[in-house]
């Protein structure tokens, strides 16, 4: 009951912070039986929450032992039964790595009972452009459960790739991409002599398949930009409010193919690679300068479509304005308080979203209590009740209204810009098509299995 309540509240908070929260391939997580979920760790507490709020079955989480000293998190950790892991780097703060033996045994027991456990084998959240080396804890737990693979005991190991549009930014996108489940027993039977380090390497490879990993931030930006450009060649910009979540699986597959190609080119056609990099960087820069996304080059510029857009958006913006304004007025003090707290508490990029998601529920609850209490003191009962009911509804409207108004303003600006500079639009669209053709031509030269091993 407590677990469900906390999941509901944190789910609301998470969806208040991120515009889109989506777990893609959720059916790959078995609904029953022992499951070990493993993923990259890019956004601190937000990472497990992304999966926790979307998966119906109960998931046992792990956290660093020092969090028990956090006044807000400690009660939550106890309430949802988080297993604490003691890291070597936290010894100065009271961690005792010897206690990990018992912690890992607890996780193994949970799995043997048919439970689900979520582990982050990198050991800590970070903002690197690629995965950090995996630690062996997850593999040791898995091997502890399946033994030598001869028995009936099995365990599904499910890799998850966590992707953030911009992890610290309010109202951005957060996507969890679930990879193919692997049978730990089958792996054990195929590798009877292998130890936990071998399984750890396999786990790392499984997570790499569904994440984007480069050595440098600049390379990552270029890779994401190139994948975005190629996806935008034939795509049409989605209707506002109907945007599908970022298609992580296709995007990651394309980015991996690009990365394979880039590595092959670096060895065999370095000049062609340098030329491609320059073209991608140049086109991305020009589009960014104009505030355009690649697919917006295919925006329907007909006046009929534009008139329909105006009717649709004006209806929403006019009818929704009073509710949104009411929502903003009533939630602004709580929002500013959360913002101030987050600013004060966050020193790293991967702390902003987590601090906001965990600070928001108590702050908003306190403000709601104050506001509703004051309403019942000052207003007749029916009006106070109406006021209380209006708070969550208008708060949510205000949030969605902000997203929509921003999208409408942006789309209008794009439309006017493209209408007023048709030659520039044609040149950019031509450059994008040429780039796609050049990539396709190079793709034909690259063997299918090129450099897959070092992705």
């Amino acid at each position: 009951m407590m677990y469900r309540l906390i999941r509901f509240v944190l789910g609301l908070s998470l969806r208040g912070f991120f515009r889109t929260v989506s777990v893609q391939g959720i059916d790959r997580i078995p609904r029953s039986g022992p499951v070990l979920l493993i993923s990259n760790h890019a956004n601190a507490f937000v990472d497990p929450l992304l999966v926790l709020v979307s998966v119906q079955r109960r998931i046992t989480l792990t956290a660093k032992s020092t969090l028990l000293g956090h006044p807000l998190l400690a009660p939550l950790i106890r309430a949802v039964g988080v297993v604490l892991l003691h890291r070597a780097q936290d010894v100065a703060h009271g961690a005792d790595p010897r206690a990990n033996v018992e912690a890992l045994a607890t996780l193994a027991r949970t799995l043997r009972r048919g439970g689900a456990v979520y582990l982050f084998p990198e050991g800590q959240s970070h903002s690197d452009p690629g995965l950090r080396p995996f630690r062996t804890g997850a593999a040791r737990v898995a091997l502890d459960v399946v033994g030598d693979g001869a028995g009936e005991a099995d365990l599904a190991i499910v890799p998850i790739g966590l992707h953030f549009e911009q992890k610290e930014r309010w109202r951005s996108e957060a996507i969890a991409l679930v990879g193919q489940a692997r049978s730990a027993r089958a792996w054990r039977r195929e590798h009877p002599e292998a130890d936990a380090r071998a399984l750890t390497r396999a786990m790392e490879a499984w997570v790499r398949e569904i994440t984007l990993n480069t050595d440098r931030d600049e390379d990552r930006r270029l890779l994401v930009g190139a994948a975005g450009l190629l996806e935008g060649v034939d795509a049409r910009p989605p209707m506002l409010g109907q945007e599908p979540p970022w298609a992580a699986e296709a995007h990651v597959a394309r980015a991996h193919r690009l990365l394979e190609g880039a590595r092959w080119l670096a060895r065999h056609r370095p000049v062609a690679l340098a030329d491609l990099r320059a073209r991608v960087a140049g086109l991305t820069e020009r589009l960014d300068g104009l505030g355009l996304r690649p697919e917006e080059l295919n925006l329907d510029l007909g006046w009929g479509r534009a008139a329909f857009f105006v009717v649709r958006e004006l209806e929403l913006l006019l009818v929704g304005a009073p509710l949104a304004l009411w929502g903003w007025l009533n939630h602004l003090p709580a929002l500013l308080t959360v913002k101030a707290l987050v600013r004060r508490m966050s020193t790293e990029l991967d702390q902003w979203a987590s601090n906001a998601v965990f600070a928001a529920p108590p702050v908003f609850a306190a403000f709601y209590a104050l506001q509703v209490g004051a309403a019942f003191l000052l207003l007749p009962g029916a009006w106070a009740l109406a006021y209380a009911l209006s708070l969550p509804l208008t708060g949510w409207v205000a949030l969605l209204y902000r997203d929509r108004a921003g999208g409408a303003r942006r789309r209008t600006r794009t439309f006017l810009r493209l209408r007023s500079r048709p030659a520039e639009l044609d040149a950019l669209a031509g450059e994008l098509r040429d780039l796609a053709l050049a990539v396709s031509a190079l793709e034909l030269e690259i063997p299918d299995d090129a450099d897959r091993h070092d992705l």
């Binding site: 209707m239 409010g241 109907q242 329909f308 209806e315 929704g320 509804l393 409207v397 209204y401 929509r404």
Partner: protein
């Protein structure tokens, strides 16, 4: 009467011809929108004609039964009489009448945006759900004929409704459709509930949420303006949800993707 029968006959012939023409126009870009217009043309035409014929064709009056159902729903004071408190002043009657009238632009805008701006699957579902709701509601008007509290309980109200421009518009519109009729179920509540639930269920959360207060006010207005019993509202809303669920089942993804 003879002239009206002729007019209705001519309109029906136009609708039939339109249906036959649309069958031949399958696959054209404008066909879905034209089909939607035709479907709702037929439905709205039927609504306008029902008021004249129902009370002549069906020999019984459902108002007493609906009054009893209301008493069962709310054992104390009947909801319609309790709602008098909402419509005691001219400004409140005007406000409620404004919301009552707002049903029309909301519904038409939903249809316009739904037929022109939705993907095929969602457009089909909206059309099927609304047409089913209207069809079932018209059955209610025909077989549970009731004029509503404004006629059946006229003697029970403490005073006539004060009102101004908007209340006048509502009254004139109802008189032009043959006077108060078709109380059970409430299409005002049913159609708006369906439109709102449809938006909420089909990735248009903002539009769904911003109309929630409108639906609440329309429901209050139908009671306070004395056109509906509480049971009409409950059944209207329940029918709306059922029709939406039915449409989702009836229009599977494959049918819409096949280009329907």
């Amino acid at each position: 009467m003879g002239g009206q029968a002729l007019l209705h006959g001519a309109l029906l012939a136009v609708f039939l011809a339109g249906g036959a023409w649309l069958r031949r126009a399958r696959g054209r870009r404008w066909e879905p929108a034209a089909r939607g217009v035709l479907v709702f043309g037929v439905l709205f035409f039927l609504y306008a004609s029902l008021g004249k014929v129902t009370f002549q064709a069906i020999p019984w009056d459902a108002d007493p039964m609906l009054t009893r159902l209301d008493a069962w729903l709310s054992p104390g004071s009947p909801p319609v009489l309790a709602a008098q408190a909402l419509g005691g002043r001219a400004w409140s009657v005007e406000l409620l009448s404004f919301y009552y009238v707002a049903f029309i632009p909301y519904l038409y805008l939903t249809l316009f945006l739904g037929l022109l701006g939705r993907p095929a699957l969602e457009r089909e579902r909206l059309l099927v759900a609304l047409a089913t709701l209207y069809g079932l509601s018209f059955m209610g008007y025909l077989f549970v004929p009731a004029r509503g509290p404004i006629v059946a309980m006229a003697g029970s109200f403490a005073a006539p409704l004060p009102g101004g421009f908007f209340h006048g518009v509502v009254r004139a519109a109802i008189e032009s459709a043959g006077g108060p009729h078709g109380a059970f179920p409430s299409l005002h509540v049913g159609a708006t509930t369906l439109a709102c639930a449809f938006d909420l269920a089909h990735r248009n959360t903002l539009r769904g949420l911003i109309y929630v207060p409108l639906i609440v006010m329309i429901a209050a207005a139908t009671l306070a303006l004395r056109y509906h019993y509480a049971i009409d509202l409950v059944v209207g809303a329940a029918l709306a949800i059922a029709c939406l669920a039915l449409a989702v089942r009836l229009v599977p993804r494959s049918a819409a993707e096949a280009g329907r």
